[in-house]
Amino acid sequence: MTVRVTSASLSRGVLANLQANLSRMQNTQNQMSSGHRITKMSDSPVDAVAAMRLRAQQASNDQVGRNIDNGLSLLGQADSTFTSMSSMLTRVRQLVVSGRNETNTADERSAMADEVDELKKGLVQLANTTYLGRPIFAGTQNVSTAFDPTTGQYLGNGQAVQRSVSADGSATVGVTVTGDTAFSTLFSDGANPGILDRISAALRDPSGPDALDTELTNLDAASQTMQEARSIVGARYNQLLGLQTSSQATADTLTTKLSDVQDVDLAKTAIDLQIQQTAYQAALGASAKIIQPSLLDFLR
C-alpha cells in the first residue's frame, strides 16, 4: 500500500524529530554544565544508588580520618609529656645518686629532698596533662585529674581510650595508656607514699640515706615501665600513621569511583554535543527543503 504523505504528518514527523534532537542536546548540555551524568534517580538507578553509597562511604571515611587525626594528636601529646617526664626522672635519679653520697650534709640532703618534692609536683602536673579538658592518663574515667595533686593517688581506671578507625566501628585503636600502668608506684603505692615521696623521706632521714639504695632500684624500674608505656604510645602512633595513609588512599579510591559513577566524560560529551548539533542542523536543513515545495510552486 502506498502511504499517503500529508503536510500534517510531514510536519508532525519533522517536529517530533527536531524535538527529539533538541531534547538530546539539552540533556548533553545539562551534563556538560553540571559535570554530572546523573542528576536524578531515574537517569540510572544503579549508578545513582552506587553514588549514594559511595557518598556515605566517603563521609564515614572522612570521619575515620578525623578520628585518626584526633588519636594522633592525643598520642603526640602523651609522647611529649613522656619526654618531659623522663628528663625530670633523670634529674631525680641524679639527686638520688648524689644524695646517697655520704659526704653530703643533712642540710644539703634536705635541699635535695625539697627539689625532689618540687620535681614530684611537676611530674604529677605532667601526668595530669589534659587534652580538650580530659586528663590523657586517666583512662575512661570521668575525672578532672588523673592523679590526686596532693596525695598522688590514681583516680582513673584501667580502660584505655579507644578511637574507631574503620567505618563500621569494628576496628579500634587505643590512643592512651592508663596512668596506673605508665607511672606504676611513682606517685603513690595504693594508700601508701610512692617512690618519689619515699626518696624525699629517705633524703630527710636523720639516720642516713641508706634506704635510697632500694628506692634507686625502684626508680629505675619505674623509669623502665614508663619507657615501655612510651614505646606503646610510639607503636600506636605509627599504627595510626599507617591507617591515615590507607584512609587517604581509600579517600582517593572513593573519589575516583564516585567520579566514574556520576561524572561525565568531558571529551566524550563534548564530541556527543558536536555530533548532535550537526545532526540538528542537518535535520533543520532537510526539513526546510522538504516542507517548502508543493505543487503550488509549479502551477502557473
Binding site: T6, S7, S42, P45, A48, G133, V161, Q162, A167, L295
Partner: protein, 456 residues
C-alpha cells in the same frame, strides 16, 4: 431523448464540478485543522429512467452525473487503535509525572539530600566519641537529628501535598469526562438528525471524534460506530455514551491524606456500581493516589521507624552525661511524626561504661550504625533505588508509547489528512471538468442555434 436534456447533462456536470471544487477548497482551508478528515465528493453516473413505461422511453445509458454525497475519509480501525494507544500514552504520562514529582521531592543523589544528612548525623557521633563530655559536640548531634527529623517531616508533607493535588486532579478529570460524554451524546443526536435528513454532517462528526479521542485519553474508553453515524463509547464494558444518552461518573473514597482506610475509586453516578478504568489519565492518577504515593510513604515511614528504633536502642545501651542510662532521642515512628525529644546535650548517651567511667564507646557504636545492613541508610538507598528503577521503566515505556502513538497518528493522517499536492491536482482536474462542461453547453447551444436557423 430531447435536445434539451443534453443541456441538462451540462448543467449537472457544471454543478458537480462546482461542488467538487468547493470540497477541494474546504480541504485546503482545513489542511492544518486538528482532527479534520479530508472529504471527497462521491459522484455517480446517472442513467436514464430504468422503469419502463409505454409512452416515455429514455436512453438508459445517458443521464448525466449525480453528486451522491460528500464522504469523510476515515479508517475506523485506525481510529479505534489510536484511541487505545492514546489512552495508554496518557496513562503512562500521568504515571511518569507522578514519579518525576517524587524524584524531585527527594532530590537524590545530591550533596544535600537525606542520605547526606544521615551520613553527617552518624559522623557527628564520632566527634562525640572523640571528645566525650563535650557539650558542643552533643549539641551538634541533636541539631543534626532535628534536621533529619524535619527533612523526613518535610518529605511526608510534600508527599501528602502531592496526594492531595492528584486527588483534586481526579475530581477535575472526572468532571471533564462527564462534560465530554455529554458533548458526545449531544453531537451524536445532531449527527443522527442530520444523517436522517440526508445531510453530510462531516464537520460535526470530526468534532465529535476529537472529543471521543480526548475521552479515550482520559479514561481508556473505547468507541464503536452505531447506526446513522452515531458513536457509542464504552468504559470497562459498560456504556458511557449510548446514542444520544450519556452516563456520569463520580470519584469515591477518601479526599484527604493520610486517610484512615479505603482507596479512591470511580463509580457510575447513577447506580453507584464501580466503573473499571484501566487506562488513560484517570487510571494513572488512580495508581498515583492508591499505590505509588502511599507506597513511597510506607517506604519513607520504614526509614523513619528504623532510624528512630536504631538510635533509641543505642541510646538505651549507653549512659548519658549525667551518668543515667540514655533516654530515647526520637519520638514517633512515621516520617510525618518523627521528632527529636531530647533538648539537653548532656542527655546524649555517649558512654558505654557505667559511671564514674565516661568513654565515647556508645557514641562510636552509634556511629557504626551508618553501615548497618538493614539500617536507615540502607533502607533509604533501597527505597531510592526502587523509585529510580520504577521511574526509569515508566519513562522508557512512555518514550516507546510516544513513538507508537506517533506511528498510529501518521497512519491516521495518511488516511484522513489533507495532502496539498493531491488537492491541487484535484483542483486542476475539476477545473478542467468545469471548463469542459461549459464548453459542452456552448456546443449544445450552438447546435440548437443551428436547428433554429435551419427551420426559419
Amino acid at each position: 431523448m430531447s435536445s434539451f436534456s443534453s443541456l441538462n447533462i451540462g448543467t449537472q456536470a457544471l454543478s458537480a464540478a462546482q461542488q467538487a471544487l468547493e470540497v477541494v477548497g474546504q480541504n485546503v482551508a482545513n489542511a492544518n485543522t486538528d482532527g479534520y478528515s479530508r472529504q471527497r465528493v462521491t459522484q455517480v453516473a446517472r442513467g436514464g429512467s430504468t422503469v419502463p413505461a409505454i409512452w416515455s422511453v429514455s436512453d438508459t445509458s445517458v443521464g448525466g452525473v449525480d453528486v451522491t454525497g460528500i464522504e469523510r475519509i476515515r479508517d475506523s480501525f485506525l481510529e479505534a487503535r489510536a484511541q487505545q494507544e492514546h489512552g495508554t500514552l496518557a496513562n503512562l504520562t500521568a504515571m511518569s509525572g507522578t514519579y518525576g514529582d517524587l524524584e524531585s521531592t527527594f532530590g537524590e543523589p545530591s550533596e544535600t539530600g537525606l542520605q547526606n544528612q544521615l551520613s553527617t548525623f552518624w559522623g557527628s557521633w564520632h566527634d562525640i566519641a572523640n571528645n566525650p563530655g563535650d557539650g558542643s559536640a552533643a549539641s551538634v548531634v541533636l541539631e543534626q537529628a532535628s534536621t533529619m527529623a524535619s527533612s523526613l517531616n518535610g518529605f511526608a508533607t510534600q508527599l501528602a501535598g502531592q496526594w492531595q493535588a492528584t486527588r483534586g486532579d481526579i475530581d477535575s478529570t472526572v468532571s471533564q469526562i462527564n462534560t465530554m460524554a455529554a458533548q458526545v451524546a449531544q453531537l451524536n443526536g445532531a449527527i443522527r438528525s442530520a444523517t436522517l435528513s440526508g445531510q453530510s454532517p462531516n464537520d460535526l462528526a470530526d468534532q465529535r471524534d476529537a472529543i471521543v479521542l480526548s475521552l479515550a485519553e482520559a479514561t481508556g474508553a473505547s468507541a464503536t460506530p452505531g447506526a446513522n453515524g452515531v458513536v457509542n463509547v464504552t468504559l470497562g464494558g459498560r456504556p458511557l455514551v449510548s446514542d444520544d444518552h450519556s452516563q456520569q461518573l463520580q470519584a469515591l473514597g477518601p479526599t484527604t491524606y493520610p486517610s484512615a482506610t479505603g482507596t479512591v475509586s470511580i463509580a457510575w453516578a447513577g447506580t453507584g456500581q464501580p466503573a473499571t478504568v484501566s487506562s488513560g489519565t484517570l487510571a494513572g492518577q488512580l495508581t498515583a493516589v492508591n499505590a505509588t504515593i502511599p507506597g513511597t510513604m510506607t517506604d519513607l515511614d520504614a526509614v523513619a521507624a528504623q532510624l528512630a528504633s536504631t538510635v533509641n536502642a543505642q541510646q538505651a545501651a549507653g549512659y548519658d552525661g549525667n551518668g543515667n542510662p540514655g533516654s530515647p532521642m526520637f519520638t514517633g515512628t512515621t516520617a510525618a511524626t518523627i521528632a527529636v525529644s531530647l533538648t539537653d546535650p548532656s542527655s546524649v548517651a555517649t558512654s558505654s561504661a557505667a559511671p564514674p567511667a565516661f568513654d565515647g564507646a556508645n557514641a562510636a557504636a552509634m556511629a557504626a550504625h551508618a553501615t548497618d545492613a538493614a539500617g536507615p541508610d540502607a533502607l533509604f538507598q533501597q527505597m531510592m533505588g526502587r523509585l529510580g528503577v520504577q521511574s526509569q521503566t515508566i519513562q522508557q515505556h512512555t518514550t516507546t508509547q510516544q513513538s507508537v502513538v506517533g506511528q498510529v497518528d501518521d497512519s491516521r493522517q495518511s488516511v484522513s489528512g489533507v495532502n496539498i499536492d493531491e488537492e491541487m491536482t484535484n483542483l486542476i482536474a475539476y477545473q478542467h471538468a468545469y471548463s469542459a462542461a461549459a464548453q459542452y453547453i456552448s456546443v449544445i447551444s450552438s447546435t440548437l442555434d443551428t436547428l433554429m436557423t435551419m427551420t426559419r
